[in-house]
Symmetry: D3
Subunit: 319 residues, 6 copies
C-alpha cells in the first residue's frame, strides 16, 4: 500500500501537552475527522459476560486515556511510523446493551462489520472476552476461518457458566463449534492456574487448540516459544486476541480474573513482535478493568499492546 | 416476644480478636448454627441490573467483613441488646445467576420466601437495587402491600434502560405497577441530582411517591423530616430500602452511581432511629460497590445501617 | 433568549451507556459539532502556578470523565432543562505551555476571548487558580470590571511566592491591582486555615474583599450567608470562581492544597443556587487534582458544580 | 509570658517550598535547634495497644508530613501568631518498645517528664490511645489531677481485652483508678456506636465521666455543647485528648477503629476553639493510622488539630 | 492413601458464583462440615512480632477472600485433583492474644497440635513470621526435627529486637537453638537486601543454614537452584516456610518489610513444584499485610502458594 | 581512604524502631550533625521540567521515608559496610524555585557545588530529570567531562518541548551541546517505547550516545550488557543517572512517564553492581513521583538504588 498522503496524524506531544486535547486512541483522529482510513480502533465497553470482578465496561475509556502516554510517531523495534504508512482512526464505541447479551452480540457484530466492510483492519478494545465471538463472526464472514493466537491466563473453552453459553470463559468453545477457527492451527499462550477439571485440557485439545503455558515459556525461552507459535499458525490468516490477564498481576492488576505466575510486559511485547510477519487480519485487547488498576499500569500495558498490534498491521498493509 | 433463651450470640470482641473467627454478619451465628431464629440477614450478591459502575456483587462479602468493626452487644440510643431479645442469624448468600436476570429474580424471591416462611424477619444486603423487586414480592405475598420508605439519591422509578424493564433504576416503577406498594404512603428521602426529564417527577408522583430531597432535609431539619415520613407512612406495614448512595460520596464513595450533595451518615442514622416505632416488616441495604471504597468506609456505613435496621426490628419483635 | 431550536443534546443515558460514547462535558456536543452555541465549557489544563501538590493539569480530563455520571436533562431545583434552553458545548482544551507562565497566560486569554467574542458565555474548568487572571482579563475586556464571588479555602491575595507575581495564591491581588474587580463588591466564601501573617486579612480588605469564613457559615447558616453575598454583589456583573478546595477534604480530597473544616458539597450547591438571579457573566471551577482523588469524588463534585453554573447561566440567558 | 525574643520560626512557605526542607512539626525547629522552648510536640509512635487495625506507629511521621500543608504564621480565629508568642519545638519521637507494653509505658512517661520538667507545655502525637496513661501520669506528677476533655467515638473505659489491663480501649479506666482524673469533671464528646454491654455506660458514669454523644451534638448544636463542656470542667486544670476517630470516617478514614455518624472537622475545630480560655495543661492527638488514609486527609486533620491545641496553649501561656 | 470417598468438595465456580457463598479457603468446607480430614489450613491472625509495618493479623482473612479466585479442581502442572485425593478443610483461626506474645505462642502451639494429633497435615496462614516457632514446636513434637526450606527476603536469624527474643526477625535463631531443625539441612532462598552487620551471615551459617540469594537465582537459574535445595534437604522431613516477601514488591506489595530485587511469582511457583517429591510434613505462608496490598495481588499470590503447598501435600499423602 | 574513625552511623534498627526517629536518608546523620563527610545525599525537590504527570517534587521526601526500610549496616553483595568506611550524610534539600527554571538551575548548581567543593562525593535525589543539567555542570567544573551511564526508558535527548530548551526530555542534549559529556563514551540502558520520530535515534547517536534497549537486555542477558557498558565507558570518570522509569511500571508505578516492557528491580541492581569498579564521580536517582506510587514500592526501589550507588562510591573512596 502506498503511503496515504494527507493522513491525519496525532497531535505532537512536544507542541500540545499530552494531558490536553484529543481523547482518541493515541491522540489521533476520530473516524469523523478523516475521509477514509486503513485501520480502526473500536471500543467495546461491555462486561456482562464476566464471572468474577466486573468493570471491563470502563476498559475502552481507560485505554484511550492511557494511550496519551505514548509517542506514536515511530516504532523503533519494528522500524515503522504507523501513522505515516496508514490512516489510523478511533472509531468510537459500540453501544452494546448491558442488560441483553443477545442484543449486545448483534450490536458488536454490526459495529465490527461496518468497519471491515470498508476494507479497513480492525483492532478492538474490550470489554470482557465474550466480545471476541461477534468480532470473530464479523471477521470470518469476510476473510473465512482464522488461526487464533490467544494470549491469556485461561483457556476460555469451558462449556457454560450458570447455564449461560456465552461468557468470557466459554467464548472460544463457541467460536470453535461455529467453525470460526481453522482446525489445529490455534494456540493459547500464557495459560496457568488450576483448572476446574482434569478434562478441561483434553476438551481443549479436541477443540483444536495447542497450549503453551506460562511455565513452558519460562522453560523454553522467548525464541523457542515464538517458533512454536509460527509453526502452529503457518500461513493462515490470523486473529490475535490478547486478554490482558496473560500478564502477571504485578504488570496488570486491573483485570477481572488475575492469575499469578504470568508473563512480564517485556515478554508479551517481544512475543507479539515475533508475529509481525504473519497475516494478521484482526486483533483485540480485552479484560482491562480500571477499578482494580493502579496508576494506570494495566491500561498503559493494554494501550501499548494495542499500539504494537496496530503498528504490526500498518506494516503488513503497507508492504 | 419473650427473650429467646439459648441464643447463639456473637463472639466477644474482648476475648476473640475481631479480625479472627466468624465472617458472618456482626460475627454472629450462621443459619446452620441455630435451631430457630427471629431475624435473618441475607446476602444477595447480584449486580446485573447496574447501569454505570458494576461491582455490587461484592457487597455482601464486604459488609460482612466490615461488620466485624461493630460491637453488637448493646445499642445505647435505642436501648436494646439485639442479640439478647432476638436470635439473629446470617442466612448466607442467594446464588443469583449473573447472566440471567429472570432466573436471578426467581432465586432471590425463593431465597427470601424460604426465610419469611419461618416467621422470621428479613434484612437483605445487596447487590444492586434491582433485587428489591423479588424481595418485595416475597414480603408482599405474606404481609400484603407495604409502604415503602426509600432512602436514595435517585427515584428509581424510570421506565426502562436500553429496553430492559428491570434494572436498578426502574425497580420501584415495577413494584408500583405490580401493586406491591400501598397507594400514596411511600416516600423517597435524599433525592438529588439532575433528572433525565422534567416529567420524571410527575410520573413519580403519579406512581404514588412523595419526595423529600437532600436539600429539603437541609432546609427542614431532621425532626421535621422525620415527622413528614411518619405522617406519610401512617400505621401501614413498612419496607425500608436503603440505597447507600443516599449518603454523600464523602461518606459512601463505594457505590455505583454516586451523587454529590447527599446525607451525612449521622443524619441517616438519626432518621432511621426516628422510624423505630413503625411496623417494619422487612428492609434492605443495597448498592455497596467495594471496588470504589476506601478504608471500608462505605461498607462500614452499610454494616452500621444494617445493624440499626436489625436492632429496630429486634425491638419491634420483642415488644 | 428564545429556545435554540435544533440544539444538539447529550446522548440519552437510557439508550447509550454512560461509560460509552462522548467524552465531552455532560456527554454533550463538542464545539465542532454545532453551528453556534450559547455556553461553552473550556478546559484549561495548566498547573504551573501550583505551590504544593501539582497535577491540576489533569483536571479538565477528570471532570469531563466524571460528568458522565450526571443525567443533564433537567435540573429539578432550578427547574431548568439546560440543553433545551441553550446550546451548550465542550470547547476543548487550551494548549497552555507548561514551561512558560507568560505564554500560557496569553494562550488562555486568547482561548477565552475567542469564545466570548461569539457572544457565548464561558465556564472554564482548571487547572490551578492562576488561570483566573487571563480569564478575568478576557471577560473584563468585553463586560467591564466584575464583582467576584469567590469560593475558596484561601484568600489567594498574597503578594508573591518565590518572587513570582502570578501563582495560584496571588491571582486575585493581581486582578485587583489591574482593576478587573469592581471596588468593594467582591467576596470570599469558605476561607479557613491559618495565614502566613496577621496582615494578610488587612491587605485583603484593603484590596476590596469581604471575607465569609467556613466558621461564619456554621454560625450564620446558609440563608444568612446567601443574603450577605447578594447584598455585597448588588446588581453588578458577577464572575463566580469556585476553587474546589472550598469543600472539606472529605468531599474533595483531590486538590492541591486541602484545608480541613470546609464546606459540605450540599452547602456549596445550595449557596450557588442562591445566586441564580445574579447577572453572572462567566465562571470557573479550578484546582481539581485527580492524582489525589479517590473514586472520582472530587471530580464528580467539580462536574456537578460546573453543571450548576452552566444551568444557572442557561437560565439567565433564556429569560 | 512576654514575647519570646529570638524565637526560631518555621521556614516561610513563600520562600522555601513546603515540600522541601524541614520535616519537623509545622516546619518549625527541632528541640536541638533552640536553646529553650515553651511548647514541645512529642511523637509517640507506638501501637501495641491496638485491638483492631494496627499502624498508628506511623502516626507521628504522617502528622509531621501533613503539617507541611499549614501556614503556621497566624491563627485568624484565635487571633494569635503562635510562633511569635511562644517558642514551639518538635521534640522528636519516644523510642517506645513495640514488644513490651510495660517498657514502653516507662519510656513514654520518661519522655514526657523530661519535657515537662523544663516548664514547657506538652502536645503529644500518637500512637494509639494507650499512650495517654503514661502521659497523664507525667502531667499529674507535676500539676496534680486533671479534668479530662476527651474527644472520641469510644468511651475507652472498658476493663480489659484478652486479659490485658492497658490497651487503647481501657486507658481511661486505668487513669481513673489511679486517681489521675478529678472526680466528676471529665467528659467524653462524640461517643457513638454500639457498646459491648448495657453496663458500659453505667460503669463509665461511676468512673466520673459525662458523655455527650455525636447525636447529642446534632440535637443540641455547637454552642450548647460548648457550654456543657465548660460547665463540666470548671476552672480545673484540663488535659485534652483527641482521638481522631471522633471525626466521621469521611473526615478521618485513616484510623484503627472508625465509627460512622461522627463529627465533621469543622465541628471539631469549633468545639476546640470554645475551650481556648480553659487552663489547658497538656494535650494529645492519637490514633492516626496512615495505612488506611487517603490523600493525607486524616493526617491533615490531626495536624490541624495539633496546630489548634498548640496555638491555644501558646495563647494561654502568653497572657 | 486411597481416595477419601465422601469428600466434601468446594462449590463449583460454574454453578455458584465465586463472589457468593463459602468464605473458607478455596471455597471448601470448614472443619465442622466434615467428619475427618487429611489436610487442614489454619489461620493465625497474629502480628505482634512485627518490627515495621503491622497488619499481618488481617492476613488469613485476606488470603481466604483471595482464594475465591482459584478454581481448585485440578492442578495441571502437578497433575493432581487435590480435593479428590484428600479431604482438605479450613480449620478456622487461632485466637492468639495480640497483647501477650507468650500466651499467643501457647495458643498457636495448641491449635497446631490439635490438628496434627488427628494425623492430618497442616498448612498455616499467618500472621507474621514469629508464628513459625510454635508451629515448628508442634510439628517437631510429632515428627522430630525437620529440614527447613525457607523462602524469604530476610534471614530471620537475628538475635533480638529491643530486647525481645521472639519476633518475626529472630524466629529461626530460636528454632535452631531449640533443636527444632536438623543440623546443616536447612536453606534460605531469596535472601537479599543489606544486613545489620557483616557477622549476620556468619552467625546464620553457624546456625546451620545455607543461603541462596535472589541474585544467586538470577545467575544460576531455576533448575540449578532446585537441585541445590534438593541436595541440601536430602530425604529428611521438610517444613516449608514461605514469607511472601520473598517475592519482589511488584508481586507482593502487601507485606510488612518489602525488599526490592525479589522473585517473580512464576519463579516461586516453579521452585515450589520442584519440591513436590520431598517429604513435606508441614508448611506455612506468612507476612501478608492487606493494608498495603492493591487489587488483592499479594493475597492472591499467597492463596496460590497455599494451594500449591496443599496440592503437593495431597499428592504426597495419596501416594 | 582510611576508615573514617568517629563516623556518625545510622540508628540501630534493633534498638530504635525504624518508624521512629531520624527522617534523614538511611536514618543516618544530617550534614549539621557531623564535622566532615565523604558522601552527601542531596534532595532536589523540583519538577517544573515535567511534560506529563508532575509530582517528582515530593520525591526526596518519599525516598527519605522509604529508606527507613533498609538496614544500612552491611552490603553483602559488595561486601562493604558503607557507614564504616565513609561518613555519609543527608545534606537536606535544595530550595529550587518552582516558578523559575533559570533560578532553579542556578540554585541546584550552587547546592551541588557547595558539597563538591568539600571534596565529598554527591548522590542527588530528584526531582525530575531536568536537574541533571546543573548537577553535571557542577561535577564537570571540578572533574572535567564525564562518561554518562544513563538508565532510563527514554533517551532524554529531544530538542525542545513547547519551545522550552531545558525539560526532563531534553536534558542530555543540552549536556552534550555544552561539552559536559566525553564524546562516544556515554550509554543509555533500558530504552523502550515508541519515539516521536525515526530521526530521534540518529540524532541521539550523533550526540555521542550508545543505546542498549530493554529488549536488548532480554536478548543479551545481564553479563553481556554489563560488558558492553564497561567497554563503552572505559576508564573515564563516570556519572551514573538513574531515571526510576527504567524499571517496568510493575516495579515503579510512581513515576511521571511510565513505559511498559522495562527492567525488573533485580536486573537494575545487578547491572549497577557490575559498575562498582568504575571511577564513579557522582550519581543521581530521579523521577520518583509519589502521588502515583503504591505501598512505597517505587520510593523503596529508588532508596535501594541510592543505597547501592552510595555503597559503591564508599567502596571506591575507601580503596
Amino acid at each position: 500500500m502506498p503511503r496515504n498522503e494527507g493522513n491525519t496524524v496525532p497531535d505532537s506531544g512536544t507542541e500540545v501537552p499530552r494531558y490536553a486535547g484529543s481523547h482518541h486512541f493515541f491522540r489521533g483522529p476520530s473516524l469523523e475527522q478523516v475521509s477514509n482510513f486503513d485501520i480502526a480502533l473500536l471500543g467495546i465497553p461491555f462486561d456482562s459476560g464476566t464471572s468474577y470482578r466486573p468493570g471491563a465496561r470502563f476498559g475502552p475509556s481507560a485505554v484511550r486515556s492511557a494511550s496519551r502516554h505514548l509517542r506514536p510517531g515511530y516504532h523503533s523495534e519494528l522500524e515503522i511510523s504507523p501513522f505515516s504508512v496508514a490512516q489510523i482512526v478511533d472509531a468510537g464505541d459500540v453501544a452494546a446493551n448491558p442488560f441483553d447479551m443477545e442484543a449486545a452480540v448483534v450490536s458488536i457484530h454490526q459495529g465490527a462489520s461496518a468497519i471491515l466492510s470498508t476494507g479497513a483492519s480492525l483492532v478492538s478494545i474490550g470489554g470482557d472476552h465474550s466480545i471476541a465471538l461477534p468480532l470473530l463472526r464479523a471477521v470470518v464472514e469476510r476473510k473465512g476461518p482464522v488461526a487464533l493466537v490467544h494470549f491469556d491466563a485461561h483457556l476460555d473453552t469451558w462449556n457454560s457458566y450458570f447455564g449461560a453459553s456465552l461468557t468470557h470463559g466459554t467464548v472460544f468453545r463457541r467460536a470453535s463449534e461455529e467453525g470460526l477457527l481453522i482446525d489445529d492451527h490455534s494456540v493459547h499462550i500464557g495459560i496457568r492456574g488450576p483448572l476446574y477439571d482434569r478434562l478441561d485440557l483434553v476438551t481443549d485439545r479436541r477443540l483444536g487448540f495447542q497450549t503453551i503455558t506460562a511455565f513452558d515459556l519460562q522453560r523454553l525461552g522467548l525464541a523457542e516459544v515464538n517458533a512454536l507459535i509460527l509453526k502452529r499458525v503457518g500461513d493462515n490468516p490470523v486473529y490475535i486476541s490478547v486478554d490482558i490477564d496473560v500478564l502477571d498481576p504485578a504488570f496488570a492488576p486491573g483485570t477481572g480474573t488475575p492469575e499469578v505466575g504470568g508473563l512480564s510486559s517485556r515478554e508479551l511485547l517481544m512475543l507479539l513482535r515475533g508475529l509481525s510477519n504473519l497475516n494478521i487480519v484482526a486483533a483485540d485487547v480485552v479484560e482491562v478493568c480500571p477499578a482494580y488498576d493502579s496508576a494506570e499500569v494495566t491500561a498503559l500495558a493494554a494501550a501499548t499492546v494495542a499500539y504494537e498490534l496496530t503498528t504490526m498491521i500498518a506494516g503488513i498493509r503497507s508492504r
